[in-house]
């Protein structure tokens, strides 16, 4: 009979660990998607600057408060602007950036197809 409470306690602790592991995973994922604004060419995840350390703490707190990943991104975007996100948003300034690879791809495809049929 003693076995049951011990089993319960152990299983609860293990579950907590799982929960925590999930949190750390999303925490790291978010930090990797953020640009460290005071460093050059580093993500928040990679940086050990005071700014990045605080930001990682904020992300952790926000996750614990129950905010979703998207909510955290939009919070940071509001505070620091779009530049903090590594993933550029599709807008007037980034049309070219997003569409150029597709255009080049299509043009390349067209050339290949044209040559192929010409040979035939």
């Amino acid at each position: 009979m003693k076995f049951i409470p011990i089993f319960l306690i152990v299983s609860i602790i293990l579950n907590f660990n799982l929960l925590k592991a999930d949190e750390i995973k999303t925490e790291n994922k978010i930090a990797k998607n953020l640009r460290c604004l005071i460093c050059q060419g580093q993500s928040v995840y990679d940086s050990d600057s005071e700014f990045a350390i605080s930001l990682k703490l904020v992300i952790k707190n926000k996750i614990q408060q129950g905010l979703s990943e998207e909510q955290i991104y939009s919070f940071l975007k509001m505070k620091y602007g779009e530049w903090i996100l590594y993933d550029p948003v599709f807008n007037r300034n980034t049309y070219f950036l997003w569409l150029l690879p597709i255009l080049i791809f299509l043009a390349g495809g067209a050339i290949i197809i044209k040559r192929f049929y010409n040979k035939k």
Binding site: L37, Q40, S49, E50, F51, V58, K79, W83
Partner: protein, 172 residues
């Protein structure tokens, strides 16, 4: 016809690419955020430097006065540079200075203020730096000029004589 056309296009593309990259060479690769903003002051609940009592932001910025919220730390060397300008600003009655003690040691911060003087009306503690993230701050030193519960200007880095004159001009 075809063989004439392709080299011209290629040269054209090469030239455009060259011009874009050549222009890019001269751009600064350091990100500078905008300093003119009209954002609401973020609310916070922080411990006071003096007696560890809780200070609420709504209580600080309630008047129709100007405020300069200055993020500082005793370990930050540029903060020492800007301190004399803050001391000058203290003499102006139209503005109140709010200190935001960033990730600091109490003893060292106290001796910093003892040596260089205390320009702040209120100092709050930001032990882990999370409160300054709410302000959208980058680090120390950084200052926000506040009027009517709005951030009207921000100064990233130490305040110099030029900034001081600008502040005095705004609050006049």
């Amino acid at each position: 016809m075809k063989s004439k056309f392709i080299p011209i296009i290629l040269i054209f593309i090469f030239l455009i690419t060259f011009v874009i990259f050549f222009k890019g060479l001269k751009n600064s690769n350091i990100y500078t955020p905008s300093t003119e903003l009209k954002k609401e002051v973020p609310s916070f609940e922080l411990k006071s430097f003096k007696n560890n009592s809780i200070i609420i932001s709504e209580k600080i910025f309630e008047d129709n006065k100007y405020y300069l919220m200055n993020i500082w730390a005793s370990w930050c060397v540029p903060c020492k540079e800007e301190h004399k300008f803050l001391m000058k600003l203290k003499k102006n009655e139209r503005i109140e200075l709010i200190g935001f003690n960033y990730k600091d040691n109490f003893k060292k911060a106290s001796s910093f203020l003892k040596d260089l003087g205390n320009p702040y009306n209120i100092i709050v503690l930001d032990k882990d730096g999370t409160a300054s993230i709410e302000w959208g701050a980058y680090g120390v030193p950084e200052s926000f000029l506040i009027h009517q519960n709005k951030i009207i200007k921000r100064f990233i880095g130490p305040i110099n004589n030029k900034d001081l004159l600008e502040i005095e001009k705004i609050i006049r």
